[in-house]
Amino acid sequence: MNPMSDMSEAGTYEDEGALDPHGAARLLARTQRQAQRELDFRSPWLSLIAAGAALIGFGAVWLSVRHQHPFKGPTTAALVVLYLLVAIRIGTVLYAHHRASAGVSGRSARLERAEGVGLAAALVAVYVLMIALVGDGVGSQRAFYWLYGVTATLIVLGTFWAARSAVKEDWPELGMSMAIMLVAAGSALAGPRGVWLGDGVGLCVLLVASAGAQMWLLRTSRSGT
């Protein structure tokens, strides 16, 4: 039985509206562009929000620790700002993803659920390892805890996204993921205070560049039709 056979309002429309080749090419390009935009949760605005969140969140922590000798760790107020901005970032991504994937079912939805489980497991493993290392007396306790926490989290997220981008043959996203890992590793060299400034500025620059590239691609695809 045809699944659509019981739907009402089935009309008897003819193949109205003849198309000339130029008109067909324009309609095809416009439809492909619109579909890709609506089905992809990523957008320049989302990247700009993330850039602002990274700069303000990491910047707030850096301001709270930059003059600490010895290092005591971020203040509660700085952590509230950081976690609030992380929550906003997660919320905006989930909202955009929910909107983009509405009505979409099949293989990619199943894959995304599996990817989510894998990512959660990797992050939990990092934090368990961190607790084990600190508990064993490795490093200078608080300084090591914060330095390792922020760096490892960014490297895990970058590694996850790099693997995902490689499978999808999404080379710009692969480059972005590798750049995030480099920023995370490079900033760690600045120690438990400087790491926050390095990550904040580095991520902000990368995300603004990503937003610019996305805007440029959108404009190019529009002018190319």
Partner: protein
């Protein structure tokens, strides 16, 4: 080369939009009837008519899940449908280069 060389099943505004929209999904994914309707802006009756023609040609498959008001119909492009759009695009490109 004339417009007759273009696949008549796709060379109609509504069906070209349907096929191009479904082709934007990764292979193996389906789109709900209501989301497709929102994205293309056709009336339900018009959309059903065009979907039937494409389904009869094996360019897409449809699947209904659930019963009653909670039922949902999803449509997906078949390999044949994806290949037909690729052929259509290539023919269109050749045609425009020759103009």
């Amino acid at each position: 080369m004339t417009a007759d060389a273009l696949d008549p099943l796709i060379h109609v505004p509504a069906r070209l939009q349907i096929v191009a929209t479904l082709a934007a999904l990764p292979d193996g994914d389906a789109l709900s009837f209501t989301r497709l309707q929102d994205m293309i802006g056709l009336t339900p009756g018009n959309l059903i008519t065009h979907l039937r023609k494409l389904e009869d040609a094996d360019y897409l498959t449809s699947e209904k899940t659930g019963n009653g008001p909670a039922s949902r119909t999803s449509v997906a492009l078949t390999r044949r449908g994806r290949a037909a759009l690729d052929d259509y695009t290539a023919t269109l490109r050749t045609m425009l280069n020759g103009l």
